[in-house]
């Protein structure tokens, strides 16, 4: 009960509360990037390469520039400096310099008085290409090294990772059961409803300001400096609210550089808004992966070893690919795993839109494969699949690849979905066509190490305390819909006894806010939350001291409640927060504080790559899915999904539910509908929201979100992530439920009616063959 004990006294934390920011957002009172209109603003469009792989022979913009509405054209030569989100693999130019590597690769940008003129002008820029041989799928990339898309030009390899823990061959040899499986995931797109948009402004003082719908304003700030050769001190990046991102806006894109450069060339603000089609070609979505697994077990169901080989289709550029390649193996070792593990993953370049991180980066695809394998093992050794997972749970201590586990609500997750779905009474007993399936997963709460090596904080918050009773939270976090603004306001208000109406949040503006690295790898709650609490507690200490002095009590007897500070036993003399602020300001001078989060100094395995996948805390998830399969049409209907997620302490349960429901929705969509297909010509099969099928209200299951609140010792008030973890195992849960329903194992996503029917026919054919064979034997 004493002050500063961290047990938020004013009762906002953990309460199912309003979203808080929605009303202003939807009434157009908060401006998203495309809502911003600046005086004299020009509109620009990008010219994109129509060939999957081509050398740019010449670019002639004279026809375009002859139009009086067209103001400027820039090409790769105007920005001949490479960039890349991962410092070790900078392989992109804002506009292709010599070679364009996929249909849709940007090669020039044109600014005009209005968008339509800019669009027309893109067609009046004459570009001569020399078409080069292209690799349009994994096999082609593997078999034709002479295409030379890799860094050395001698192969098409982007990254190879081979890691081994324990003696896999011996363990497999000593297993009672060894099963093999091959799986394929074609890849999916983020498809946020807001397309990318950026505005560049270069003012009379030579200050470059870029507004962008990005998840990573800090990295954009750095890359703008690198590419445009301007001091970072002369650049300001502002990220307005973002209309959905899901990983698709977590690195710099051509439009940000092009808008900035055109603004510098013309001296006028320049806006670029991607069309829906461009959004699909800019991509950075989930990688296609071809995965081969061998999993061994003893006859009692204990896993002995896992051996995985994964080929990854990276598309045209590196993006986060180095990390993706590690994640395809590193993030599998929780929550149920074997003591021996080996994986070999190779990411290939292909002449397709580049792949990158999508919600559950790099590990959603292998999770589908591995959890499907576990279901097969369980069946073979005749152990209930939930029991099998319990038996192999890695509950505490270290994973086989050296990651530290500080809190773990996994077993409770399993128990909760088991009970909620009435698993024991219903699984395997629902009759042909209906079934239940289980799967589980774990995910990071932020990466322990920043993308570029440094010793500085990963997240910081500054508080400005006004004597009117208003506290402003300045922080670099990117509000992309997940609710970091609401979360930070809640944490600060809770510490200080403030009404949420008296807390303002200013976020993601590099001039106003201290650095946060961005909204990726599920780091927001953990890192920004810790930073906010650290800052708020300093202010709280001063308020408590001032109130203690006024009441003549010891500071440790002062506590914070909603709206006021009181002394134990003297509740009648409560001091309103505003008065406490004024007392403290009088005593200590102007109030303010900074707080930050730095991850523990050493985490992860002691081997090359051992830090990738290391996180200060891991979340845990279990899914049970119930499906109906129509054996006549092959249509799978996911009726209901129970998702239990260990998010540590649920600070804002409304937001956590939203993340769980949104993750499950997205996972089920990837299981049944979504497929990002680039055809043999390098063209997207349907770059629009009609052909790329994202679910409508009529296509979603009932989702039951179950919060499991373990208490993480290092999380803010015990909290961990919730934004990505709850996606992973939804896909294999559906796959395993389909098996329970109709007895087919699907090894390729999505589970479209055609694939389901094909598998059903194959099963019927083999059953009848077996029947004939049995008869003949008789």
């Amino acid at each position: 009960m004493s002050a500063g004990d961290g047990s938020g006294r004013s009762g906002l934390v953990g309460k199912r509360a309003r979203r808080g920011d929605l009303i202003r957002k939807v009434r157009g009172e908060v401006r998203y990037t495309d809502d911003i209109k600046l005086p004299r603003m020009l509109h620009a469009r990008l010219v994109r390469c129509p060939h999957p792989h081509a050398r740019i022979v010449s670019i002639d913009a004279s026809r375009a520039l002859a139009d009086k509405n067209v103001i400027a054209v820039v090409t790769g030569r105007d920005m001949p400096r490479r960039f890349g989100i991962i410092p070790w693999t900078p392989d992109e130019y804002p506009l292709a310099l010599e070679n364009a590597r996929f249909i849709g690769d940007a090669v020039a940008a044109v600014a005009a008085l209005d968008e339509r003129s800019a669009d027309l002008a893109t067609r009046a820029i004459d570009i001569q290409y020399e078409v080069l041989p292209a690799a349009l799928d994994l096999d082609a990339a593997e078999q034709n090294p002479s295409i030379g898309l890799g860094a050395t030009g001698k192969d098409n390899i982007s990254k190879t990772v081979d890691l081994s823990f324990g003696d896999v061959d011996a363990a497999l040899g000593a297993s009672d059961v060894v099963l093999e499986g091959e799986y394929y995931f074609e890849g999916t797109a983020h498809a946020p409803i807001e397309t990318h948009c950026a505005i560049g402004q270069y003012d009379g003082d030579g200050l470059l300001t870029v507004w962008s719908a990005t998840q990573v304003p800090h990295y954009l700030h750095r890359e703008l400096s690198r590419v445009l050769a301007i001091s970072p001190a002369r650049i300001r990046v502002i990220q307005p609210p973002v209309g959905g991102a899901f990983g698709g806006k977590s690195e710099p894109f051509a439009l940000e550089f092009a808008a900035a450069k055109l603004a510098m060339v013309t001296g006028r603000p320049v806006k670029i808004l991607y069309t829906r089609e461009e959004e699909f070609y800019a991509h950075r979505g989930r990688h296609p992966m071809a995965m081969r697994y061998r999993v061994g077990a003893k006859s009692d169901g204990s896993l002995t070893a896992v051996d995985a080989k994964t080929r990854i289709d990276g598309g045209a550029y590196s993006s986060f690919g180095l990390v993706t390649t590690y994640y395809s193996g590193q993030l599998l070792t929780l929550p149920s795993f074997a003591p021996n593990y080996r994986f070999s993953s190779t990411r290939y370049f292909t002449n397709k839109p580049p792949c990158g991180p999508k919600r559950g980066h790099g590990s959603v695809q292998p999770r589908f494969a591995f959890e499907s394998m576990l279901d097969r093992i369980a069946e073979r050794v005749r152990v209930d699949p939930i029991e099998l997972r319990r038996k192999n749970a890695v509950v505490e201590g270290q994973t086989v690849n050296g990651f530290r586990v500080t809190s773990n609500g996994y077993l409770e997750c399993l128990a909760r979905v088991e009970a909620a779905s009435d698993w024991k009474n219903r699984r395997g007993k629902l009759g042909f066509g209906r079934g239940l399936g289980v799967a589980s997963s774990a995910y990071i709460s932020g990466t322990n190490y920043p993308i570029y090596p440094n010793e500085m904080p990963q997240s910081a918050v500054q508080l400005k305390v006004d004597r009117s009773g208003v506290v402003t939270v300045f922080n670099g976090a990117s509000e992309i819909g997940q609710g970091t603004d609401t979360l930070l306001a809640t944490l600060v208000a809770d510490e200080l006894g403030l009404d949420l109406a008296a807390v303002r949040v200013v976020s993601a503006d590099t001039d106003l806010c201290p650095v946060d690295l961005g909204a990726y790898s599920s780091r927001g709650t953990f890192m920004n939350g810790n930073a906010a609490i650290a800052a708020a507690r300093q202010v709280r200490e001063k308020l408590v001291a001032a109130v203690a002095e006024k009441l003549g009590v010891h500071p440790k007897d002062v506590f914070v409640s909603q709206g006021s500070l009181c002394a134990v036993g003297r509740e009648a003399d409560a001091v309103p927060v505003t008065e406490a602020i004024q007392l403290a300001e009088a005593r200590f001078g102007t109030l303010g504080a900074t707080g930050w989060y730095k991850s523990p100094p050493k985490l992860g395995g002691d081997y090359r790559g051992g830090t990738i996948g290391a996180s200060p805390a891991y979340s845990f998830t279990a899914h049970v899915a119930e499906v109906e399969v129509d054996a006549e049409t092959g249509i799978v209907n996911v009726v209901k999904v129970w998702c239990a997620h260990d998010c540590g302490r649920a600070l804002c349960p409304t937001l956590v539910d939203g993340q769980i429901e949104g993750s499950v929705y997205m996972g089920v969509a990837e299981a049944l509908l979504e497929e990002h297909v680039i055809d043999h010509r390098g063209l997207h099969r349907g770059p629009n929201l009609l052909d790329y099928r994202i679910p409508t209200t009529l296509d979603v299951p009932d989702i039951v979100s179950i919060l499991v609140e373990s208490h993480d010792p290092e999380g803010p008030l015990g909290a961990k992530e919730a934004g990505e973890g709850p996606l992973h195992s939804s896909i294999p849960a559906v796959a395993n439920a389909i098996y329970d329903a109709v007895g087919i194992r699907l090894d390729r996503l999505p589970f479209s009616p055609g694939r389901v029917l094909q598998a059903l026919r194959k099963r019927a054919a083999s059953a009848s063959r077996e029947g004939v064979a049995a008869e003949e034997e008789e």
């Binding site: 939807v26 498809a191 959905g244 069309t275």
Partner: protein
């Protein structure tokens, strides 16, 4: 070569007209009203739709056909089919139900690109045409073969198709300029080609139709030319509604055929009544400068006449400078500025806009109402949904000029505190929006739903919102929020629960009081 006698007109409003993505599919009563209006201006033949499209299409076509008999309308009915037996059978069913005859207009793609894409060869085409014509013959219905894209087809393909049709008993061929590709000289050449073909086959009894589009602005001229060189029946739609720039306007067709002495003249007032009824049924705005029937032709507003004549000089109100400066690029399209007058969220708006400007662009860029969002700009996502005369519509697929004299309602009309709109209240309370980008469209669709249905079930909500995509929430919270909003509206739930602000400091004391205390 001059046609003798009466040239017939075929009104395709209820078939080809409804293929325009910008028109509303009328209710059955509205369709019947339009049928009467067609009859009143002497339309000879009218299409009652494509019955095979849906159960509703069968019902509507049957009702229309029955109305013709019951009300003794002079108009005769046709119905469209693909050259597929099932489609022809659907027409037969309509004919049986209504107990009245129907002419089958069965269409097939005839352009080389279509044949290439579909991998259709001659045998396949013959079989399809023959099969469909046989089905019509068995049902005792006259059969017309409609060769889509006739003007871009290879003559050999055409003769193959026509032969197959005639052999199977077709009595009519419809020549189509599906994408408005031809000019009057081409029309004459095509008609003389088909006529000589028919004569060579001894099939001079086969009658001809002309169906053209306005892409090059030659639709009317082509139709008149077709009539002049001996086509018996020419097609049009009310106000020319249809795909892309549309079909030949029926009112212009009838007026001009009258003026040329090829049909009886019809009074202008009757033609205007016909277009008014059609515009209401299809929720279409008659373009102010439309010939004969537009507001400017009707001479209602002299001031506006003057403004329109000024063309590019006129823009004044609420149009962004960049758009004006950008006029040069638009010169290529010879676009003018059109005056429009509408109400947006109860405010009168009087401005000039370009015919190509979408309502979404006008709202966001000209009126700075940025709450309405662009997600796809092609009618797939629903983020741009607004209410037009109370009905949810996609503003990205609606031209600003179509909103002339209408009431547009956007998300900005939903009130914040203290009279917090129940939907805003419930969405915020339930976490029914995350990034908030699709939410305005959701809210407008839900607003219309709650006006219509004060107590919707979860399924009602799901159905109503199925055209609005959300990528964050998984929809569950949205459906719950709409249910909650309905309860708040009905008074079954309190409004503004847990809104922040209960514990903020009170207002500072008035200055006077302070002085008194001293």
């Amino acid at each position: 070569m001059t046609a003798s006698g009466h040239v017939q007109v075929n009104d395709e409003s209820l078939r080809d007209g409804l293929q325009s993505p910008s028109v509303h599919d009328p209710s059955r009563d509205e369709k019947i009203a339009l049928l009467h209006a067609m009859s009143a201006i002497g339309v000879d033949v009218a299409s009652v739709g494509l019955p095979a499209a849906s159960a509703r299409a069968v019902d509507d076509a049957s009702a229309l056909l029955k109305e013709i008999t019951d009300a003794r309308l002079r108009v005769r009915a046709t119905a469209a089919a693909r050259t597929v037996e099932g489609d022809v059978n659907a027409i037969a069913e309509v004919s049986q139900r209504a107990g009245a005859p129907l002419e089958v207009y069965a269409f097939i793609g005839s352009s080389p690109i279509r044949h290439y894409v579909e991998s259709w060869d001659d045998d396949f085409l013959k079989k399809r045409v023959g099969g469909a014509a046989d089905a019509a013959r068995r049902a005792g219905l006259p059969f017309c073969l409609v060769t889509e894209d006739t003007t871009r087809a290879h003559p050999k393909s055409l003769t193959t198709l026509w032969s197959a049709a005639i052999d199977a008993g077709a009595t009519r061929l419809c020549l189509c300029d599906t994408v408005g590709h031809a000019d009057p000289f081409g029309v004459e050449a095509l008609v003389s080609f088909v006529k000589s073909f028919l004569e060579s086959r001894g099939a001079g009894y086969v009658k001809l139709d002309w169906h053209g589009h306005e892409d090059r602005g030659l639709g009317l001229a082509n139709a008149l030319q077709a009539a002049r060189v001996g086509v018996e029946r020419v097609h049009g739609t009310a106000m020319g509604v249809g795909e892309r720039v549309g079909n030949v306007a029926m009112e212009s067709l009838i007026y001009n055929l009258g003026a040329l002495g090829q049909r009886a003249s019809v009074p202008l007032a009757a033609l205007r009544r016909y277009t008014d009824i059609a515009a209401r049924a299809m929720q279409w705005s008659i373009f102010p400068a439309a010939p004969l029937v537009g507001r400017l032709s009707r001479g209602l507003d002299a001031e506006r006449d003057a403004a329109c004549v000024l063309g590019d000089q006129a823009p004044a109100l609420g149009v962004e400078p960049a758009a004006r400066a950008g006029a040069g690029a638009d010169d290529a399209f010879a676009e003018g500025w059109v005056p429009i007058r509408l109400r947006v969220n109860d405010d009168p708006v009087e401005t000039f806009t370009r015919p190509s400007r979408t309502l979404l662009e006008m709202l966001r860029y000209d009126l700075d109402l940025v709450g309405t969002r662009q997600g796809c700009d092609k009618g797939d996502c629903g983020a741009c949904t607004v209410l037009i005369d109370g009905k949810p519509q996609l503003s990205c697929l609606t031209l600003a000029v179509h909103c002339d004299e209408r009431e547009v309602t956007t998300v900005e009309s939903l009130k914040g505190p203290p009279d917090l709109d129940p939907l805003l209240d419930a969405f915020d309370r339930c976490g029914a929006g995350q990034c908030g980008f699709c939410t305005p469209g959701m809210l407008m669709t839900a607003t219309a739903l709650l006006h219509q249905n004060a107590c919707p079930s979860r399924d009602d909500v799901r159905r109503a919102l199925s055209g609005n995509l959300c990528r964050c929430t998984g929809y569950g919270a949205i459906v719950t929020a709409v249910e909650l909003a309905a309860k708040i509206r009905r008074g079954d739930e309190p409004s503004g629960v847990d809104m922040p602000g209960a514990h903020v400091p009170p207002p500072l004391a008035p200055a006077k009081e302070k002085e008194k205390r001293r």
